[in-house]
Subunit: 177 residues, 2 copies
């Protein structure tokens, strides 16, 4: 089994724990965003996009235990404000960091050696049933707890290719194959 197929299989296990059903056809379209960093378990994200129209988007995000989605923001594109998004935790725990007063004694830390690329430190903890809306054009990053996490994302139109990551090494479109 390739690394990609292994990651898809694992993603499906988390979705199952959250009670989320994908059809066989949808399962083939799960995205493994390794982001060109070469250490998916540390930094990366698994996702499935339900719908992305010119007006709105909905995705399911899966984080493996302690996996971090690197800091980024959604800039204005085509004269529209950047993507506005609501994260709703469905399963597990997600530690979300956004702009604002740095949280003293945060629950988790950025990946070791990558601290310079994680600049916002205001902590929001989301457990199942809790949600938070991130305004356009503002930096954020998030990390799963020890169990991993499943997060529903409701948003305006998604244009991932325009995302701006703090770490210049990141290539958002890079996926495992």
């Amino acid at each position: 089994m390739t690394d990609h197929d292994q990651a898809v299989k694992r993603t499906l296990e988390f979705l199952r724990k959250a009670g989320i059903v994908l059809t066989e056809e949808e399962q083939q379209k799960i995205e493994i965003a390794e982001m060109g960093l070469g250490h998916l378990e540390v930094e990366g994200l698994q996702l499935y996009t339900y719908v992305n129209t010119s007006r709105y988007c909905a995705k399911e995000l899966v984080l493996f235990p302690n996996q971090t989605c690197p800091e980024h923001l959604h800039p204005p594109v085509f004269g529209e404000p950047g993507k506005e998004e609501t994260f709703r935790c469905r399963w597990g725990t997600v530690y979300l960091y956004v702009d604002g007063e740095a949280t003293v004694n945060p629950s988790v830390n950025p990946p070791k050696g990558k601290e310079a690329y994680y600049t916002v430190r205001h902590e929001i903890i989301l457990t199942p049933g809790q949600q938070y809306t991130i305004p356009p054009n503002t930096k954020h990053w998030f990390q799963a707890g020890d169990e991993g996490a499943v997060v529903s994302e409701f948003s305006s139109t998604s244009r991932d290719e325009y995302d701006i990551f703090t770490d210049p090494a990141i290539k958002r479109s890079a996926g495992l194959n």
Copy 2:
């Protein structure tokens, strides 16, 4: 227990079956849309709105067994096209009817005596993991199968008060209290 509280309790049972968690505070905000028709079990809808911004909206819809959400459309408002919405079935079966060629031998029928207010007859069947996107300004109605149904709705901004129902007796804002 009031009719409203009874309907909320029942709604929560269906959400639980679908593995969907609402916080205690959210549970208090479940909407029982009786629509002024006085027969919730026949025509009506239960829903919870996760988020409704100026750009997007996400809701969870619950239908009791064989309950019908009456035919309506989302017209243009404030110079924007009407609401565009994606229904994704999470649990149970939902029979959705949209504009298009009438389906011969449809799976279900409009509520008895209300046939005149159900004019679109093209059938889409959604089971868990299946979804359908309804364009703005087009009539649609839907009915749950014998088990009931839980449906996630992803959409552009929701402005329910402007919905146009085919049945003139309907008051969208009427809820059970």
